[in-house]
């Protein structure tokens, strides 16, 4: 493998590892809470197992990717804006340019690829935790048929659709964080401001993306 590919893959792996490490516990906890709430509502409010199945489908298609993206939005956008902003302030971006490098290709693209790959992993974790907690609660309240209804309530296509949504969110979050980081001019206070702006912009982007992809549509 060429040194170029090695370097790029190392950056992708490094960025992905950092994102996953930061977010695994938060995604698991948020998924457990959200799924528990959903399962309680679904199992208590109606004896109709179809509602339980629809909730499970809603979870894997839309809510699990949303939980993963919201957790990542709180961390990924600000982290990337801070990281690239600090590189701007610390002259690393200029150094890279004067070495003939391209910051977009060498710094942004690996991070976007890492987010594209890491967000589905977070969404898959949210799927698993949510179904386990939600299915368990539904079974506890409405018996084993409720748990079976939850597991039978979605197809592989629903899971893949959710993972694809998560990937798109990852691309958007990484792009926002990197763009705001590269745009930093000035000193350390500007880096802090860019990180804060990236946090807000990331949350808005995730919500807008979910709306665009049909969060409002019935599962």
């Amino acid at each position: 493998m060429s040194a170029f590919r090695q370097g790029t893959l190392a950056l992708v792996a490094e960025s992905g590892r950092r994102l996953l490490g930061d977010s695994l516990v938060a995604v698991a906890a948020a998924s457990a809470l959200a799924a528990a709430g959903l399962a309680l509502a679904a199992a208590r409010s109606t004896a109709d197992l179809g509602f339980v199945a629809a909730s499970a489908r809603l979870w894997v298609r839309q809510l699990a990717p949303l939980v993963a993206a919201l957790v990542a939005a709180a961390r990924l956008g600000p982290a990337l804006a801070g990281e690239l902003g600090a590189m701007r302030v610390g002259d690393q971006i200029d150094a890279l340019v004067t070495l003939g490098g391209d910051p977009r290709r060498q710094l942004v693209v690996p991070r976007v690829i890492a987010a594209f790959a890491a967000l589905p992993a977070l969404a898959a974790l949210a799927d698993a935790v949510g179904l386990a907690i939600g299915g368990g609660i539904a079974a506890g309240i409405a018996g084993a048929p409720a748990a079976r209804a939850a597991l039978d309530g979605f197809a592989r296509g629903d899971v893949l659709s959710g993972l694809a949504r998560a990937s798109l969110s990852g691309v958007a979050l990484a792009a926002i964080g990197c763009a705001l980081g590269l745009a930093v001019r000035g000193g350390a206070p500007e880096v802090g401001r860019a990180a804060a702006r990236a946090g807000g912009a990331s949350l808005l982007a995730v919500l807008a993306l979910q709306l665009l992809l049909g969060l409002g549509a019935p599962a």
Partner: protein
């Protein structure tokens, strides 16, 4: 005589040249009609107090900023007006050491030093490794390839930055206050290395610095940037004798004078 005519003889032998350069930043005119040439094969020093505009002048030379007036010739080309490919080709002929080293702290030393060879020139891994080893040896570093660059002490970091700047064997080496964050011993060691490298690699060197002693010790020619202009220029001996008040204040390290503390 126009600025272009005045600079014509210099242009033929200059590795880097600013011609009538002016630049405003945030409403302040930081550079006014700066004309300066760095002869090929020389070590030149651009002396100036903190905030005098030395880094800005280098940034203009590198095409990282655009001049409001005048022009720049970096190895005969203005990088600000060049296409990306041409710019990359131009950058492959220069090396830059920034004040803080500007290394990627999370990367290994080898990845930092071999960046241009690997990521830009896309050389095979074995050649990159060889270039890294040789460059590190040239700056007196051994067996640090696999260390994290950010974990090195400041003196070693600047040496790694110097190794990165010469790894692709440039013609022109630019130092932007490269010793400003080093202790006196580290600064002296780095400057000695630069002088040795000029001899061994046939480099042209421009060192922007606020340290008059460093400038006078290593440079064939020194220019003082003050109040947005080159107010004094010449050999080290000429500079020592120059009555320019800003220069004398800087040389004498005095608090009172035209340079505000």
């Amino acid at each position: 005589m126009t600025a272009a005519e005045r600079s014509a003889p210099a242009a033929r032998s200059a590795a880097l040249e600013w011609i009538g350069v002016g630049k405003r930043v945030g409403g302040r005119e930081l550079l006014r009609d700066v004309t300066l040439a760095v002869p090929r094969g020389s070590i030149s020093a651009l002396l100036g107090a903190r905030g005098a505009g030395k880094s800005l002048l280098l940034r203009l030379a590198l095409g990282l900023e655009r001049c409001d007036r005048g022009s720049v010739a970096l190895l005969g080309r203005d990088p600000a007006g060049a296409q990306r490919v041409e710019c990359a080709r131009l950058y492959s002929r220069i090396g830059v050491v920034f004040t803080s080293g500007a290394l990627f702290g999370d990367w290994t030393v080898a990845r930092n030093v071999g960046f241009q060879c690997a990521q830009v020139q896309r050389q095979p891994a074995a050649e990159v490794a060889r270039a890294v080893r040789e460059s590190l040896l040239l700056v007196g570093l051994k067996q640090v390839e696999h260390e994290r660059a950010g974990a090195l002490p400041p003196g070693a970091r600047q040496r790694v930055a110097l190794a990165r700047a010469i790894a692709h064997r440039p013609e022109l080496l630019l130092l932007d206050d490269a010793t400003a964050e080093l202790d006196p011993i580290g600064a002296e060691a780095l400057l000695s290395l630069v002088v040795q490298l000029r001899e061994r690699l046939g480099l042209t060197v421009l060192a922007a610095t606020r340290e008059p002693s460093a400038a006078l010790r290593i440079a064939d020619q020194v220019a003082l940037l003050h109040d947005g202009r080159i107010t004094a220029a010449g050999s080290a001996d000429e500079i020592r004798r120059d009555p320019d008040p800003a220069l004398q204040q800087l040389l004498g390290g005095r608090a009172h004078g035209p340079i505000a503390p």
